[in-house]
Symmetry: C2
Subunit: 302 residues, 2 copies
């Protein structure tokens, strides 16, 4: 991400991204054996890029509860694997048919379509395997709650349902409304971000009130982030974002920016970011990076 | 399955398939909301067909340990969802490009490619969500062990790795050997069958020795089953099996039948089935259906 001013958040994001990258390198399968091409595609899809927003949320939602860094990093890596799989499949020719992602060829462009489908499938399974392993947390009740929440966030009433709504919206039989776009985005990207913000509280066996607060934070942050993304798509250049821009409009994709216009969409993102911040009021100053993240989500330029 | 002679196994398989079907109907998402098409495709891919071999293995491996039927049925349904997802993705144009499955159009033929990819993705997530739910077993250590084993069986060192090997084998750069075919099949179909046979022991908190015995049973049974499948593909008609036959040969797919010839392949399946049966020697007569299954795996005609 690029910011207008230097910030402790920028350093924290950069450091977290590096730690998550190292953890992914350790946890992803090695490129060995006859099926090395699969491991290679999984690594290509997951490593070396991205803001690691979801992983960062896991790490920072774990901080107030004194969770061991190694535990939080494994969960952060698992969420990033899940996210990476969703991007690989969304980019496929049958779906959004994208050639460029994070400034490099999409996985199916680099490895072929069949390997890309499989790499996505394997990343999803591997994310669950990482969470289930006892290295993630010694308490099996904690591990199974992480698994349960992630599986729901990834499934038909979460990410996959959202992608389905997105495809249907592009076919455009019904005029989009603020409510229909909000639901689409809540399912498609919001649920996983919500999980990431809740995961630290699960790992830390936080009181229910704080766990719910983090969940609500993730929900509002995710919504703000998505609107900011749409604003960026409409206003930024490819060089700034490392991905094709203006594509929502080209694809006739319904976004809040298209529905409300840039200014009202920006105002809504700001309102949501402020609301996200408010959810954290019962948390100590160890949640300050989460507070800063809410502010900066709407200020970023990539 | 069709058998030469009536058998208590036939009744048990039929009854189990019906119970699993009911459980799937309860556990799969309802076709409602804007994303109903996704739920519909998930149901189309999973319901109404198949031998339910994997689900049956869960039920019967649970029986010796007195596991509650409702628990075992949920796990059986989850394994069948996972299996169904793998078939949907394997059938895709970029993979095996099959139009017919269980006597009806494949999911991408019926729903389009994008929805089929998503339905597979959602089925995988949903299978994990079912296992993680406390209705599956009250002990979170049991649930997380089921999740861990299934995630490994489904991932890069399991089913996805096997499908990768299968794709590479079809491109045919290296001559197949008995060992390379064996490894391919162990990963592609064997690991999930192994899990199904082990799952009942996990649910029943069986002693390690019996759990390992069931795992070994599943491994040998899976291998026998796969060879028998290849024999069927080479000898049976479409009307008998409800899917396209002779396709291995047409696709130049390496099978043990192709490598060893029909008679030696049949002999190997018989040896593996006998070995599978031997693993059960420490189990009571409550494992008799598993014993019969080993015998009949190689006798079936569809």
């Amino acid at each position: 991400m690029k910011f207008d001013t230097p910030s402790p958040l920028v350093d924290a994001l950069r450091d977290a991204a590096a730690e998550i990258e190292d953890t992914l390198d350790t946890l992803l399968p090695a490129e060995e054996g006859l099926e090395a091409a699969l491991a290679s595609a999984m690594r290509y899809a997951t490593m070396g890029g991205g803001k690691r927003l979801r992983g960062f949320l896991v790490l920072e939602s774990a901080r107030p509860f004194g969770v061991a860094r190694a535990s939080a990093l494994r969960v952060a890596a698992a969420v990033e694997m899940l996210h990476a799989y969703s991007l690989v499949h969304d980019d496929l020719p049958a779906m959004d048919n994208d050639d460029l992602r994070r400034g490099k060829p999409t996985t199916h462009k680099a490895y072929g379509e069949a390997t890309a489908i499989l790499a996505g499938d394997a990343l999803q399974a591997h994310a669950f395997a990482v969470l289930a392993d006892e290295d993630t947390h010694s308490d099996s009740a904690v591990r199974v709650e992480l698994l349960r929440r992630l599986a729901i966030a990834a499934g038909p009433r979460g990410m996959c349902g959202g992608q389905m709504l997105d495809m249907l919206a592009e076919r455009g039989n019904e005029a989009p409304t603020e409510a229909s776009i909000g639901r689409l985005q809540l399912l498609k990207t919001g649920k996983l971000i919500e999980f990431a913000a809740e995961a630290g509280a699960i790992l830390g066996k936080a009181p229910a009130m704080q766990r719910h607060a983090l969940c609500a934070y993730g929900r509002d942050l995710g919504a703000a982030f998505q609107i900011a993304d749409d604003v960026l798509d409409a206003t930024a250049t490819e060089a700034e974002t490392g991905k094709r821009t203006g594509k929502d409009q080209q694809a006739g994709k319904a976004t809040l920016v298209g529905l409300l216009g840039l200014e009202r969409a920006r105002a809504q993102a700001e309102r949501l970011a402020a609301q996200a911040r408010d959810h954290l009021e019962t948390l100590s100053d160890r949640a300050d990076l989460l507070r800063m993240l809410a502010d900066y989500t709407i200020a970023r330029r990539s």
